[in-house]
Assembly symmetry: C3
């Protein structure tokens, strides 16, 4: 699986057609037109911000940016139908970059297939050999083509929006219709879950959107079964994760012997365009910077029967559920100390990144990043 | 998965028993007797041309060629129950090539298992050490044994044909009962689909048979999700496929960077006994030679929700469904040129391999194989 | 998948919490207390001998040995949720061996998460840096903690036994409730099958228990689809398996060419604590030693539609089902000799390891281990 964010310049039409993938799209900016064609059908959709569209594996599809003056951004999860990690795009048109798949057939076969003389096929489908230089830049690739306003207008005919589509087995849906109850004043969370959205059912994937308010913290938590693959669509912040410690050159050995609870913290600045991945079971947290909200869109993969457990905060806090005796045997403090500590955080899920209560003696080394 | 075509000489009995495989058999010639035994049951079947039989994983089975003067050919798809790509045959009888699995147990255990003295076990099951030479040829292997007419006659008792079995959850079925509507005067296609045939349901495999008439073309098309594994059982022809271009020594790099629409054509002569494989999404075409029909039997693996899309012809043509504007932006010709070209082929799925319409100026380099 | 037998000393509490695994436990000795906590729930169970408990993937769990003077043994099958063969434990508490996952977060994040000053967090959760030496022995790891009698008593409150739980979708069940009809006077077999036990349903795993009486034989047999992973919990005996012959240095080549029925016998002494694995299709047998019963607990993985076929004995004997003619063509003896041999063993499944009938001329080389 891969996330493949693409930037489509305005008034460009992607007339390139992807194949052999099950895909979900999130638009995180701009407004787009998507068309999916099969052998006997064509469906066009107008997509707005936070709309999600599934493109069936192997479908022929194309997209256009409808906006005059705004870039279109798409976040894409590619699910290969067979070999994990491998997929392949095929294009019906193009002489080079892309090159039409019709170039894969012999002259005789093409003449028979179209019941037409070869020059007519070249004229209509294959095109003249272009005099492109070697050093041509990627952005001039013919997979992206500039369309006129009038062409965009024609493409929009019969296109339906996610509202017009409503609840159906195909077509787009909007993430903002699926607010998760874990939302509060510090952050909001939307999750289109396969139990609610038939388009996602056989993929076992949730599509998520999170807006973490400036200066707020998504409390440390873990997923029991789910991989998180997420993309920062706006804002900046900090990503922290607790991972097993691996010493240099001991990877193999440690896997066998030493995974018994050795933990280190990894942290990374998050900025727009960054992608992060969290395996199941790994505790992680997110902090939004003080001057702007952090917007994250992503995919929770292997979501069925997943449990999201928090390690701090009032509700869904797995630590608070441990027996008093077991708390005492597990932690360095007495059960009273642990429970008193747990009670200090009255928020759940999302909280202020600035602690409200400060002990007198606190201060010390503020540069001390990890415990 | 593997295709394993076997040639069984007439009046030979395969008394060897395969194990740990889910298998489907297509008989593409001769007439056979198959018996499947389990711990408390025995089922025998008379198989005719184009009958398909599923052998459950791990079943003990044996087959006989009933014909006096015709070879028996079997096309077999082996689906391992656990490790992909690995399977293992086990034989209850035989001293060497094959060697009975009873040889894997100690004398003490065999005596206790059969509650009998060792010499009686050797006499009945294990046999004398034969004086076989090292250089013995494969065809003399004891997995194939010559049976008398009378023995074949006894084996046939109680054997049922696919017609007698009718529609049930086990037993054979005949491919010719499942004609696919894509058949026409140039070619016929049969497909036993898991939706129709309970024997195939949990395998997610269609068994297919195609007869492409001499001088005919199976139009370029692609499967959205299915792998095709096919065997040429009769005739000859040409196989063409459009594949991503891979330059020498750049495989790794290209996988990451350059798979963007670079296409090359691969073609191969097909003759009886050849096997070809088509991954999902790859456009391909078949042509029968001018002097005989091309017969292909095979397996469409991962068939659920597969879409077969044609790239030429009247029906199920995915290119014809693209918007006029998108056609113009995708292809080198105007929308009018593309649509006029598409209209020239009035057939669908199968067509003549000789184009009927010829442009005046056509001619040129007839040796020009690929565009 | 892995079997991970653990020895927990008496009056120790495992306050360590495992994560990202689906697990089934068999207690083969001692008596234990297991607690599983999630974000909003806590379930405690009293487990007795031969109880099985499934721990959901990613759950936080801990266990205690309730007995004063008996060691607790657990047999565990770990089913990773994503990467096969890889799993990871995480612990909420501990400074080192294990180290709390809270150590993976920065001071700032912990202060905000708990809305508390850092020293209070260190005091309650993170603990002081201990002065542990490098050479510290494994058994001193803080994942195992000694608990007082009174602490154990508190942990037992509200814990339910497998009898109290009854038939439900979660919680423990006892293997002794699932006697398999293949049991007889020589051996008894219990099998908790996913068809009967909802806890095992989506795992496609049977949990098995076998007691083979002293001087008895579990007759040679094979599974059509199932892997057997088994643990000797008591007694001693002999394990025999018929496997394809692999010559030294020819592994790769043989896999392709020579797997056609070359068989060799492998045998191994079994003692308490030993683990053995049997792939699907491989014939195997077990013999209990003459002075004690052999107790085996284990997991039959990939059990759905599995057929257990016996190669000797009266019932479920696949060889007895072969046609007379096919028997004659397969084996060295006449059909009469084979059928007379098969009739000598009147027992099914389990039998005496001492043959009752002896031929006059028998005797010979008793040291002759394999045929």
């Amino acid at each position: 699986m891969a996330i493949k964010p693409s930037l489509l310049l305005c008034f460009l039409l992607v007339a390139s057609l992807s194949v052999s993938l099950s895909s979900a799209y999130i638009r995180s900016g701009g407004s787009a037109l998507f068309t999916i064609v099969s052998g006997n059908n064509r469906e066009s959709y107008n997509l707005e911000r936070d709309d999600v569209l599934r493109i069936p594996a192997g479908a022929t599809a194309y997209a256009a940016n409808r906006d005059n003056n705004q870039n279109l951004r798409i976040v894409k999860l590619v699910v290969p139908v067979s070999n994990p990690g491998k997929f392949q795009d095929f294009f019906p048109g193009g002489q080079q970059n892309p090159r039409s798949y019709y170039h894969g057939f012999s002259r005789q076969t093409l003449e028979a297939a179209f019941n037409s003389p070869y020059p007519a096929i070249v004229r209509a489908l294959l095109g003249q050999q272009s005099e492109q230089q070697e050093g041509q830049s990627q952005s001039q690739t013919q997979a992206l083509v500039r369309a006129t306003r009038d062409q965009i207008r024609q493409l929009r005919q019969n296109a339906r929006s996610s509202q017009e589509v409503g609840q159906s087995r195909s077509g787009p849906f909007n993430l903002r219709n699926f607010q998760n109850p874990i939302s509060n004043n510090y952050g909001r969370f939307w999750e289109a879950h396969p139990n609610q959205v038939p388009q996602l059912q056989d993929l076992d994937v949730s599509v998520i959107l999170m807006v973490l308010n400036q200066g707020s913290l998504f409390l440390p938590h873990k997923n029991s079964k789910t991989w998180v693959v997420a993309y920062v669509s706006e804002g900046s912040g900090l990503f922290e994760i607790a991972t097993p410690r691996r010493e240099q050159g001991q990877e193999e050995q440690e896997e066998q012997e030493q995974t018994y609870g050795e933990i280190q913290g990894l942290s990374a600045q998050l900025n727009q365009g960054d992608v992060f991945v969290v395996p199941p079971g790994y505790p992680f947290a997110l902090t939004a910077s003080n001057n702007n909200n952090l917007h994250v869109v992503g995919f929770d993969i292997n979501i069925q029967d997943n449990q999201r457990s928090f390690l701090a905060g009032e509700r869904d806090n797995v630590i608070a559920q441990i027996d008093s005796v077991a708390k005492e045997l597990t932690f360095s403090g007495s059960n009273q100390q642990v429970e008193s500590l747990l009670r200090n955080q009255r928020q759940s899920y999302f909280a202020s990144a600035q602690p409200q209560q400060q002990e007198q003696q606190q201060g010390g080394e503020s540069g001390y990043a990890f415990a």
